[in-house]
């Protein structure tokens, strides 16, 4: 995977200064590299990416339900 290069402005989110909203978000547990990736996209691209993420989450949930049912049958 290629190494992501950040602009000086984006680095304010990746490595935020103390006391900023970005620092608070990072400490809250937000992965701000995802936010930076989103901010590079157009609004339409952000929606398409959202749909892909939701699809992935739903597929994962279906898999977990299948695994759960399979393990119930096995016991």
């Amino acid at each position: 995977m290629d190494k992501v290069e950040y602009t000086e402005r984006e680095m304010l989110l990746i490595d935020p200064k103390p006391g900023t909203a970005a620092a608070a978000a990072r400490d809250f547990g937000i992965d701000l590299s995802l936010t930076v990736s989103n901010l590079r996209l157009t609004p339409e691209e952000r929606i398409k990416q959202l749909d892909r993420h939701v699809d992935g989450i739903l597929a994962l949930r279906r898999s977990l339900r299948w695994i759960s049912r399979a393990s119930e049958r096995a016991t």
Binding site: A21, A22, A24, A25, E44, R46, I47, R52
Partner: protein
């Protein structure tokens, strides 16, 4: 084509006068928190209610969470008698809001909206500042969780001015 894209296209195709709010508005502004349903604050004038009804009928909308035996007639009069509605549709969950907590009714949202071109249509999206107000006013855990990232995006935007 996926659900949220199809929902946004539906709003554009039927020329519904509305402002995108909620989680999809947060996504448009750059949030990474996923959401599945589209929340819109809609104009309640007659011509728009007719368009909303036509759009909802085209995707077989049914009331979400209501027992199946409760009669519900999807027409302009029903929308006029209510304010907020939650629907299941062929293109996913679609919520109509007559009022947004912390912001106000459609006219207030309209005044505080940005414009975004998506999927061939111009859409109005609640401004980031007002979206933060709305999330804070709603105060549910899922709204409060979104705040740190939205405030970061706002700070980032202001730093670029």
């Amino acid at each position: 084509m996926k659900d949220v894209e199809r929902q946004i296209r539906l709003v554009g195709e039927f020329q519904i006068e509305c402002v995108l709010v909620g989680g999809v508005a947060a996504t448009v502004h750059g949030s990474s928190i996923p959401t599945q349903d589209l929340d819109i604050c809609y104009s309640r004038d007659s011509a728009n209610l007719i368009r909303v009804v036509a759009a909802l009928r085209s995707v077989n909308a049914t009331l979400r969470g209501a027992p199946k035996d409760i009669p519900f007639i999807l027409d302009e009069e029903t929308l006029r008698r209510g304010l907020n509605f939650t629907f299941d549709t062929d293109v996913g969950k679609l919520d109509l809001l007559g009022e947004v907590q912390g912001v106000g009714v459609y006219a207030d949202c309209f005044e505080n909206a940005d414009e975004a071109e998506m999927f061939g249509y111009g859409h109005r999206v609640l401004s980031l500042e007002k979206l933060i107000d709305a999330k804070r006013a709603a105060g549910r855990p899922k709204d409060l969780i979104a705040l740190p990232e939205l405030e970061t995006i706002l700070e980032h935007r202001k730093s670029g001015l």
